[in-house]
């Protein structure tokens, strides 16, 4: 369990906005080793799962070299968008972080 202020690897396509620069301002209490969201193993992501690489507001989702969608939950702002988008395909497992962990909004 450590306080961190890093996260997000994705970049906005055309605008080149680094979401990591935005998340840098936020406070998180990371539950190390216990990610609250998991992408289920898959060969080829559905269109819905693939869309998370640009839909996630914290840029948590990225495409790896072999074509699978991966998640790094450290910058997650717990909005739930990814769960809603993939509800039909069931490709991710979404839970709240354990009580007290995750993002801590100062202003909200």
């Amino acid at each position: 369990m450590t306080m961190i202020a890093k996260a997000g690897t994705a970049e906005a396509g055309s605008a080149g906005i680094k979401v990591a620069d935005k998340l840098f301002q936020n406070r998180y209490l990371v539950d190390a080793g216990r990610p609250h969201i998991k992408v289920r193993p898959h060969d080829k992501p559905s269109k819905a799962l693939l869309s998370l690489t640009h839909t996630c507001p914290a840029g948590c989702y990225s495409l790896n070299d072999t074509g699978q969608v991966e998640i790094s939950v450290d910058g997650c702002v717990e909005c739930g968008t990814c769960r809603v988008v993939t509800a039909k395909t069931g490709e991710i497992e979404w839970n709240y972080p354990r009580g007290g962990f995750g993002v801590l909004f100062k202003f909200g």
Binding site: G59, R83, Y96, G99, G108
Partner: protein
Amino acid sequence: MIEQRFDAIVVGAGPSGNAAAYTMATAGLKVLQLERGEYPGSKNVQGAILYASALEKIIPDFRDDAPLERHVIEQRLWTMDDASHVGVHYRSSDFNEERPNRYTILRAQFDKWFSRRVRDAGAILLCETTVTELLRDPAGRVIGVRTDRDGGTAFADIVVLGEGVNGLVGQRSGLRPELKPDNVALAVKEMHFLPRETIESRFNLKQDEGVVIEAMGTITAGMTGTAFLYTNQESISIGIGCLVSDFAENQQTPYGLLEAFKNHPSIKPLLENAECKEYVAHLIPEGGYNAIPELYGDGWIVVGDAGQFVNAVHREGSNLAMTTGRIAGETIVALKQRHQAMSKANLAEYRRRLDETFVMKDLKKYRKIPAFLHRNKQIFGLYPKLFAGAAQTWLRVDGIDKRTKEKEILKSFRKGRTLPGLIGDAFNFARSWR
């Protein structure tokens, strides 16, 4: 966890959960409130505008110590194209009244304050405690909750679900379906700090006066959505949101949209030299009346965002949350006083009471609007462009006579949308609105 038995367990310490807990605790009920965040507000996000009337009915003297930012004296509604905005502004000194009607707030601070009042009223609050499931008796009645605090359980006559838009507890217990991507919007927001004098001079404000801007147009890149800018004491809340289904189908990133909005020539000067201190995102239930799930059953009741209580047209949500929370609380207190069971049949009183309030009346009035806005993307792309073009044609003085300009404007509308299209849009909009 806590071995005691409670009259009511409230899941969540946002506006709806706090309103319910306060109402019940004030009436003498034994209330346990569970919040997954480190402190109330730490997981909560809103624009944020506080509508005084909903809170006054719960805590009449809230103005004495609630953390309020600025009372709103001016509202600007803008439609924007890439270079301009066309606006309707309403500003009135009447809003400088003894008991102002609307305030900007910062939710993390406001929720902490509200929660303090809830605890002062006698409710027990446990933070850092995530509710994992509802407990039922063999007959299927909800009798309590299990939490992630060492798997601890707590029991009560009724569980009030004020768990927010991501209401996993109710959803996974089969009380309501998963959110649909076209019934929910994703909004992102930043907090930009500036000296208060700078905000006051930039927005033409004195002391605690505030301005809010609501905007739509090409800023959402053809998607169904809106943007906003609210003035706080020493900061500006700026955000943008679109339907999740639209985000999923387009290549836009939420933060890319926000950045473009911040860099719009009508917005950029307002944020100049500001320091961003937080970036947040949240879902907003926007399905309206038709998306309202089952609101009560044997031993449970739903309040706030978990029940889809948001009036997307008027950007109202926290007032609906507080009102549904209060009325749920009042219904429970009334049943308790009459020694009646917290059964589905008896809790129907909640719905009957809600139907008499602005909450259900407004949501019902606008029940066709979500589908209308979802189907008619021209509202967000084409029309703002046509309005901007018309304004420029009309206002630019260039030796062309006014009748020719009028014809040019009409032609642009006919060309952009066709005459039957224009009439159809007006008709469909009017039909959805009434």
